[in-house]
């Protein structure tokens, strides 16, 4: 059994398509994780990214159906994500409703709305064309994975450093981190705590919507209700798995994306391995990592605690 396992691993690791599909699956998570990372640094566990992703995917389908342009589809998708994020932000950081309750309800609402609208509107879509970056695509094994992909994928490459710069090198980012660590102190320093948290959630909504749009127009090519299927939750897991650093979160996305592509490519190379095990890997790993390193990772100190001035 172990020999089988290792030969399966060898077969999979020596094929270029594994890297390609692993990278594709990881980047879909990456879009969401970037935004979720900012939201969590501001102190919100924004579980509505799942809904924002699905809303983004459906809106991207509608946008493409209406205009025939992938770019417009992506913009519409990001817009839909922003709408979901705005609802989440205003319910949880303006009206002080429980953020998890709001997020979960939004996920159900978006799923219902998207499948309801899909059954009546039935948007027609297509996948974006592959754009090969000249020169770089020639790199053996990794070249096609990184630089021979549908073009919306490349949007993530500038997005990650941009997010890092935003959070770690701007005043706004400093305030966001302050709000996530010690909202009382931030409030005394005349930072509008809930406004910063809301803005962070807007960004999470936009990138999740973009991620959903990329999933639809860059990977799958048509809308179905199960297109997201928990990937938003996996992205949240990646952020936690990465110990609330952007580097760690991206690494988590890569790991979980590869696990997923591994699961998908195993039957192709003729090795039956337990696919349930691999599907649950992101969740089990995240729980284990959190349990083992809970005292070592520095989570934002006010994560998931609402801020109401005068109440602690």
């Amino acid at each position: 059994m172990f020999v089988d396992f290792f030969s399966a691993v060898g077969d999979v690791l020596s094929s270029e398509s594994t890297y390609s599909s692993g990278w594709r699956l990881a980047t879909a998570l990456g879009f969401v994780a970037v935004g979720e990372w900012i939201a969590e640094r501001a102190g919100t566990i924004n579980i509505s990214v799942e809904g924002a992703m699905l809303g983004g995917a459906f809106a991207a389908a509608m946008g493409y159906d209406a205009t025939g342009s992938i770019a417009v589809g992506l913009v519409v998708g990001a817009g839909a994500g922003l709408v979901v994020g705005a609802v989440q932000a205003h319910f949880s950081h303006n009206l002080t409703a429980n953020q998890f309750v709001v997020g979960l309800t939004l996920n159900i609402l978006v799923l219902g709305l998207a499948s309801f609208l899909n059954s009546t509107l039935k948007p027609e879509t297509a996948a974006a064309h592959v754009f090969e970056v000249p020169g770089l695509v020639e790199i053996p094994l990794l070249g096609p994975a990184l630089f021979g992909q549908p073009w919306p994928l490349y949007l993530l490459y500038p997005l990650v450093p941009l997010a890092w710069w935003l959070v770690h090198r701007t005043r706004w980012g400093l305030e966001v981190r302050a709000v996530g660590e010690n909202p009382q102190a931030a409030d005394v320093s005349s930072i509008n705590v809930n406004a910063r948290r809301r803005q962070a959630i807007y960004i999470a909504g936009i990138t999740s919507g973009l991620g959903g749009g990329y999933l639809l127009l860059g990977q799958v090519g048509w809308y179905e209700d199960s297109i997201v299927g928990g990937q938003g939750f996996i992205a949240i897991a990646a952020v936690i798995f990465g110990g609330w650093t952007l580097r760690g979160a991206m690494l988590g996305c890569l790991l979980f994306g590869s696990a997923n592509s591994f699961r998908l490519s195993l039957p192709g190379v003729g090795h039956p391995l337990n696919s349930e095990l691999l599907s649950s890997l992101p969740f089990v790993l995240t729980i284990c990592v959190m349990a083992l390193f809970a005292h070592r990772t520095r989570e934002p100190q006010s994560l998931a605690r609402p801020f109401i001035r005068g109440l602690r």
Binding site: A237, L277, I308
Partner: protein, 375 residues
């Protein structure tokens, strides 16, 4: 501004109380109306007619033959899940993994009846216990991680839902775990063995409507939960923990004992719901299937939210949500997709989140203004 504070006589105090009640009621009614209006708009925008949809839903849930029995059958697990959720919500914990706890409970119940080798009404009790144990175990993992490793229970319960689905899926592929080993059946359908007729829960027939007797168990449990939470020391301590963890700590209420217990009890209710779904006959035709939980866990959570964690209010709320589920079965004839009911459910929950938040903000503004007046 603060009429209650300066009211000189009892009569005007009563008047301001009535007015306060009327305001609260008005805020609730307006937000529910807005939610229903949004749903109607969504229908209308896609060419459906809200009135025909409403009529079809009423037919599907209560009016047509034998339908209210079906609705009761679906309301039972919803109510049980909501009751469990009430317990952890009172302790200030957020459990959003009901779907997984229910599924594990149902799976362990299935494992029990397929491996025990005997059948009969007494085995039913064992199956129930297995279901309870399964749900409690799954919530217990989150509980241990919460109080030993300080991991937020919200995340662990949520992540465990997906682990549960994969785990049961794995069990349903192996004939020595859950998969039906019958030769003509194996490897074709991923379902468990069928429950022996002698081990099934009795079903009542009232006016042409059938529902399992577990309805009465669920109702009784709602009363029990309400009494325990409001009339016993345990309930008092749970509420203390939820409202002020520091006060509870000073008063000697062990956070890990009571909080952990609340989570485990919550999971146990979900597991019981799963076991009742299995032996009751309204779900999966007495077999465990890969999609056995059919969102009952998620929707039970919504029921608890709508009921604002009140066990008795959860009874009608569960019936309404079950009616939305069964009513959606009749929507095919109207040409409207049944997913509209999910939209209605979620909008209702969102609508009911708004009033308490608005009232809270208003009360705080008043209190701040009053404080400023004193200065």
């Amino acid at each position: 501004m603060t009429t209650a504070a300066v009211a000189p006589g009892a009569a005007s105090a009563r008047f301001s109380r009535t007015r306060e009640g009327a305001t609260v009621l008005a805020v609730y009614l307006v937000s529910i109306a807005v939610a229903l209006l949004v749903a109607a708009l969504a229908l209308w925008a896609t060419g459906g007619s809200p009135t025909t949809v409403l009529s079809a839903m009423l037919d599907g849930s209560v009016r047509a033959d034998a339908r209210w029995g079906r609705t009761i059958g679906e309301a039972i697990p919803l109510l049980l899940v909501a009751l469990g959720t009430t317990v952890n919500a009172k302790a200030g914990l957020v459990n959003i993994g009901q779907e997984g706890q229910l599924f594990v409970g149902a799976a362990l119940a299935t494992y029990t009846f397929t491996h025990i080798g005997v059948s009969g009404p007494y085995v039913l009790i064992l199956i129930m216990l297995a279901g309870v144990a399964g749900g409690a175990l799954w919530a217990g993992i989150a509980s241990v991680l919460r109080y030993r490793r300080r991991m937020p229970e919200v995340l662990t319960t949520l992540l465990l839902v997906f682990v549960a689905a994969q785990l049961v899926g794995y069990g349903l592929k192996n004939s020595n775990l859950l998969l039906d080993p019958t030769p003509d059946q194996a490897n074709r359908l991923l379902v468990s063995e069928r429950l022996d007729p002698s081990t099934r829960l009795p079903r009542l027939r009232w006016f042409g409507n059938e529902f399992p007797v577990s309805a009465f168990v669920a109702l009784a449990l709602a009363v029990v939960v309400a009494l325990v939470l409001s009339r016993t020391i345990v309930g008092f301590r749970l509420q203390m923990l939820g409202r002020g963890p520091r006060t509870a700590h000073r008063a000697g209420v062990s956070e890990s004992r009571y909080g952990g217990m609340a989570l485990v009890v919550s999971g146990a209710f979900c597991g019981l719901a799963g076991a009742f779904m299995l032996v009751g006959g309204d779900f999966g035709n007495y077999r465990l299937t890969p999609g056995f939980a059919v969102n009952i866990g998620w929707e039970g959570l919504l029921v608890a939210l709508v009921a604002r964690s009140h066990p008795i209010v959860a009874i009608p709320a569960a019936f309404v949500f079950a009616a939305l589920r069964t009513g959606s079965g009749f929507l095919a004839a109207t040409g409207v997709d049944r997913d509209i009911t999910k939209v209605v459910q979620a909008l209702l929950v969102l609508a009911l989140l708004v009033p308490p938040a608005i009232l809270f903000v208003r009360d705080r503004r008043r209190a701040l203004a009053a404080a400023r007046d004193r200065v």
